[in-house]
């Protein structure tokens, strides 16, 4: 067992523990933290196979950007599964999902184990020159891909802004009010969009319960209260 193997097993173990923590943690912020550990472990694996640039990108994108985005979203949408026990169907769904996941995992693992891999004579080890990545990305073929991925990101950007932006016009039917309450008068115009406001106690009265709950969850998650 050489050093590489030791590193592999260590990273794999961390990754697995992270994923299991993500799936099992009752509090969603704990889950996200566990996931960060898993992402970092995968980044370590990337280093191990000589993909250093990729490792850096993974840390930046996954452990950084995506996780932060997720935390933002979690803060804006409190009231998760902790509030009440899972309904009957969800327990059933877990059974099905477990069956599917186990089946897929077993099928892939069986196939991998039964495949006689053969190392090609061309194969190289050691870290890849990042300049080669750059050349490839701007080559004739992948230059096109590079342009298309910008369009994908553009679509995501525009779509996310349209969806997440709170309209200046009052939302009909009482956006925040529960279904049964009579229509409330439109809230007074606000300078900052509500979506970006910090959860503070001096918000308008009708919105307080939801945000208090967010607060409570944050406290419970041990991330401090932000004040």
């Amino acid at each position: 067992m050489n050093g590489q193997a030791v590193a592999f097993f260590a990273l794999a173990a961390v990754g697995l523990l992270g994923v299991i923590g993500f799936l099992r943690a009752p509090r969603i912020l704990h889950a996200v933290l566990a996931l960060v550990a898993a992402f970092l472990a995968v980044a370590g694996l990337f280093v191990l196979v000589g993909a250093e640039f990729l490792a850096a990108a993974t840390v930046l994108l996954y452990a950084g950007a995506i996780t932060v985005m997720a935390v933002f979203a979690i803060m804006l949408t409190p009231g998760g599964e902790e509030k009440r026990g899972a309904p009957r169907w969800a327990r059933g769904a877990r059974g099905w999902a477990g069956l599917v996941a186990a089946g897929v995992g077993a099928a892939v693992a069986t196939s991998v184990l039964a495949t006689p891999f053969q190392r090609s004579p061309y194969a190289v080890d050691g870290p890849t020159d990042t300049a080669l990545l750059g050349t490839l990305l701007l080559s004739d073929r992948y230059g096109l891909h590079f342009e298309v991925i910008t369009l994908v990101l553009l679509a995501a950007l525009v779509g996310a802004i349209v969806l997440a932006r709170e309209e200046a016009i009052p939302v009909r039917g009482g956006a925040r009010a529960p279904d049964a309450t009579p229509p409330t008068p439109p809230p007074a115009p606000q300078k900052t969009p509500a979506a970006l406001r910090e959860p503070t106690a001096d918000g308008p009265a009708p919105e307080a319960p939801a945000e208090r709950e967010a607060e409570r969850e944050l406290v419970g998650a041990g991330r401090g209260d932000g004040r």
Partner: protein, 612 residues
């Protein structure tokens, strides 16, 4: 084989009429009827010309257009007229022309006068197209179009719930048969590698096709024919179809469309003949239906429904003839039946106009008020029962003579039907035309106008002379029918027996009619109730076909509930089955994704373990 535009020319006038009516039916007003009639009459002229040519033993073949081609398989929009097609064309065009003329007065003042003739022209076009088609796909196309026109015409009085329901019923029941036809077409194309009618028939009868396949194809085709022709057990739609206007009943549901099933079997005659099982099944089915429907007709209190059951019964004769191996007898009977049954329906329409109902209980004594109608009705009825020298006698004799080939049981059923036919017609006639008028309307009944009587008289003439169509003196018509196959030899006794049976039946019918107003024993009443319920076949449908779909749905729910119960251990899931199906439509996308993915997981596992 002879190149000719005539097959297309036959289709052109009804098509033109349809287009004209579809575009301008409102501004045309009363003229709409005349345009429709002109279209049908012109088609008749072309059909007669085609028949004249075809009687010389040639097949008129029109230039064709390729509709679709998929590799070697080509679907051609072609048209051809051989002797068989010529007979059918003349019958369709002739009855259609008379019905169009009749309808001009009959439908006068109706809110959707123009639409009616538009539908009628569409039907005529579709029916003629069906006859001249040279390709199974095109045939099926027109077959469906005929069904669609029937749907529209049965439900023509959209305001009435009964009419709407009858239209839907007809559509659904005949569709069961259509499935059979579709499967048969598909199977033939599979085997013969072609959709061409002539090629597939040649393939089926050549012996190249496996015997089992031919039998299966024949039975499927029989299913298709039975659906269209209202043969047992698919007969349930035809009596209800009487909700349509009476001229429609005369044209579609007595003379032409329902005969399309018999025509299909005559067309696919080589297949029927190639398999003894199919021939036997066809003969027995036909004979049984003939007797069965005649029995049902005995208990009916509605004039049109009696005639409808009678149609089912007579169509059974045609099936019997085809099954017994005589295409000649089948087509001959088809022709004469078209004439006399159309006549009977048109007369029934005249009565409806005069009395305002089809209920026999509301008639009586009409012979005095409407002597001409009564006379023409009698002519049709006697032809139906089979008295010489009327058309029905000769054709029925031909059918029974052919049935001798099919064995004792079909022959017995066929002869028995002669008696029953006479009974229900006798009863009907006495109830409607003799005795005292039973309602005010019947007392005030009046003879219809010339435009209604005229077409009836025309058909009456045909009923008188059509019997001679096979006699050598008739020239072309005899040659035409003879081209369909040899005329079966009838013993002298058969004709005499049918006449005697007919007379006995009429007398029995008269007794039944008079006795109907006498107090009856409970047993007879009960039997009659059973008959009126259509031998419970209708209820049977409600319980099977309709219930089956509900049942399948329930099974799906039950399985779902069961699986779910296994996982969650709640027996309550079984109780809430109805609610659960609603849930299946609701938003729990994740779980359904998981369940659905499971199938593919199994494939993956199998592939992984088996090694590719």
């Amino acid at each position: 084989m002879q190149e000719s535009w005539l097959p297309w020319a036959v289709l052109a006038p009804p098509f033109g009429a349809f287009v004209l009516l579809a575009a301008f039916r409102r501004p045309l007003g009363r003229l709409a009827g005349w345009i429709g009639a002109a279209g049908a009459t012109l088609a008749l002229v072309f059909a007669l010309q085609a028949a004249w040519t075809a009687s010389g033993g040639v097949t008129l073949s029109a230039p064709s257009v390729a509709l679709l081609s998929a590799g070697d398989v080509r679907i051609e929009l072609g048209a051809a007229i051989g002797p068989l097609q010529a007979v059918m064309l003349v019958v369709v065009a002739a009855v259609s022309a008379f019905v169009h003329l009749y309808s001009i007065d009959y439908m006068a003042g109706h809110r959707r006068y123009g639409t009616y003739f538009q539908h009628l022209s569409l039907f005529t076009l579709a029916m003629l197209g069906l006859v001249v088609a040279t390709n199974w796909v095109v045939f099926y196309l027109f077959w469906e179009l005929v069904g669609a026109a029937s749907y529209l015409l049965i439900g023509f009085d959209v305001e009435r719930e009964a009419a709407r329901r009858a239209a839907v019923k007809a559509f659904v029941v005949t569709r069961i048969g259509d499935l059979g036809l579709l499967a048969a077409i598909w199977g033939m194309a599979q085997g013969a590698g072609s959709f061409d009618i002539a090629e597939t028939l040649a393939w089926a009868s050549s012996g190249a096709a496996p015997a089992g396949t031919v039998t299966a194809l024949g039975l499927l085709m029989l299913l298709g024919a039975a659906g269209k022709s209202g043969q047992f057990p698919l007969h349930v739609w035809l009596p209800d179809a009487m909700e349509g206007p009476t001229p429609v009943s005369a044209l579609l549901h007595a003379a032409t469309m329902v005969a399309a099933g018999a025509y299909l079997l005559a067309l696919a005659f080589p297949i029927v003949q190639a398999s003894p099982e199919v021939a036997r099944t066809t003969a027995v089915l036909g004979a049984f239906t003939a007797l069965f429907a005649a029995t049902l007709a005995l208990g009916e209190e509605d004039l049109k429904r009696v005639l409808a059951y009678s149609t089912v019964s007579q169509l059974g004769y045609m099936f019997l003839a085809v099954g017994a191996g005589s295409r000649f007898a089948a087509m001959f009977h088809l022709t004469t039946h078209a004439f006399f049954k159309a006549l009977l329906f048109l007369a029934a329409g005249a009565i409806y106009h005069a009395v305002g109902t089809n209920d026999l209980a509301a008639m009586g004594g009409l012979a005095r008020r409407m002597p001409k109608t009564a006379g023409l009705f009698a002519l049709g009825a006697l032809a139906l029962v089979g008295f010489p020298p009327l058309a029905g006698f000769f054709s029925k004799e031909a059918v029974l003579a052919a049935a001798q080939e099919a064995g004792g049981v079909p022959l017995g059923l066929g002869v028995g039907t002669v008696f029953l036919t006479a009974v229900y017609m006798g009863r009907l006639y006495v109830l409607a035309f003799f005795g005292e008028p039973r309602t005010e309307a019947a007392r005030e009944a009046r003879e219809p106008g010339g435009l209604i009587l005229g077409p009836m008289a025309g058909l009456g003439v045909l009923v008188l002379v059509a019997g001679a169509a096979t006699a050598p003196v008739a020239g072309p018509s005899a040659r035409l029918l003879a081209a369909l196959g040899p005329a079966p030899e009838a013993g002298a006794g058969l004709g005499a027996a049918t006449v005697l049976l007919g007379i006995a039946g009429l007398l029995a019918g008269r007794r039944l009619a008079i006795g109907a107003r006498c107090p009856m024993t409970a047993a007879v009443r009960k039997a009659e109730q059973a008959l009126q319920a259509g031998f419970y076949v209708d209820a049977c449908y409600r319980r099977t076909v309709v219930a089956a779909s509900v049942f399948v749905g329930r099974i799906v729910v039950a399985v779902d509930a069961l699986v779910d119960g296994l996982f969650t251990g709640t027996a309550a899931a079984v109780a809430g089955a109805g609610r659960r199906l609603r849930e299946a439509e609701a938003g729990q996308v994740q779980r359904y994704n998981a369940v659905a993915l499971l199938v593919l997981v199994i494939i993956a596992l199998v592939a992984a373990i088996r090694g590719r």
